[in-house]
Symmetry: C2
Subunit: 144 residues, 2 copies
């Protein structure tokens, strides 16, 4: 705890990024068994649940840029976890059987991630923090 005349930990940009990196490490470990990064896993999960979902919709659900979704879709398609259907200007994604087979492992990894950080932060605090952050995101999104 070296002292620091610039109080970076009082800056939301700074703390938010540090938290994201911390959680990223944890999530990477938790999802390692699935062979997918957490973000790819979330994406596949959405495709499994809503076959035919478009990339636009995915980018909204995941708050990721459309171009990012293109790359992710490339990657999942390359591994035969989803199939793309181009209809007009939109692209719809459907899970393959290999993709669906990952549903369970992903759900488990996700649960395990939840347990991991709950163990450190306390379940209740974790839930509250998550909810507070989510509220903040809603306001920030609206003004973007």
């Amino acid at each position: 705890m070296t002292q620091c005349s610039t109080y970076m930990h009082e800056c939301l940009y700074f703390t938010a990024n540090a938290l994201a990196r911390n959680m990223g490490k944890m999530a990477d470990k938790a999802f390692k068994g699935t062979g997918l990064s957490p973000s790819h896993a979330f994406m596949l999960m959405l495709v499994n649940e809503q076959p035919g979902i478009t990339q636009k919709e995915l980018s909204e659900h995941l708050s990721l840029a459309p171009s990012t979704l293109t790359r992710f879709a490339d990657s999942l398609a390359y591994r035969d976890l989803v199939q793309r259907e181009h209809k007009g200007k939109t692209v719809r994604l459907y899970p393959t059987s290999a993709g669906m087979a990952l549903s369970e492992p992903i759900a488990q990894a996700w649960k395990s991630l939840y347990l991991d950080y709950s163990a450190i932060l306390g379940e209740k605090s974790g839930i509250e923090l998550t909810s507070d952050i989510d509220q903040a995101n809603k306001r920030l999104d609206d003004l973007a």
Copy 2:
């Protein structure tokens, strides 16, 4: 607000990353005038305040990997904003006059970032959220 049977917004990994991206965008805008990314600006700030600081120390203050600090130092040195002094195995960083000249612009950008998000979240909520996140980070760091 499309509904989603997978409640990603109840996952701390997910919300934390979304917040980091949101804040990142804001910070990029706020720091644009300085010609530096927010992270580089923070680093330069620390060097300005503690001339002779080592990369190890910087990596602790900034919660960034040592290798990342090497690249950042490269970049700042390349733009003649810091000078490196290799002494034994450690590297100490000193600001140049150009680096020091950026102190003020950086401080202003930082303040402006603070005002920006405070305007959206409310100053008090912003402070509380930042502090909550900081607490969480402290616990997560300890167990890494």
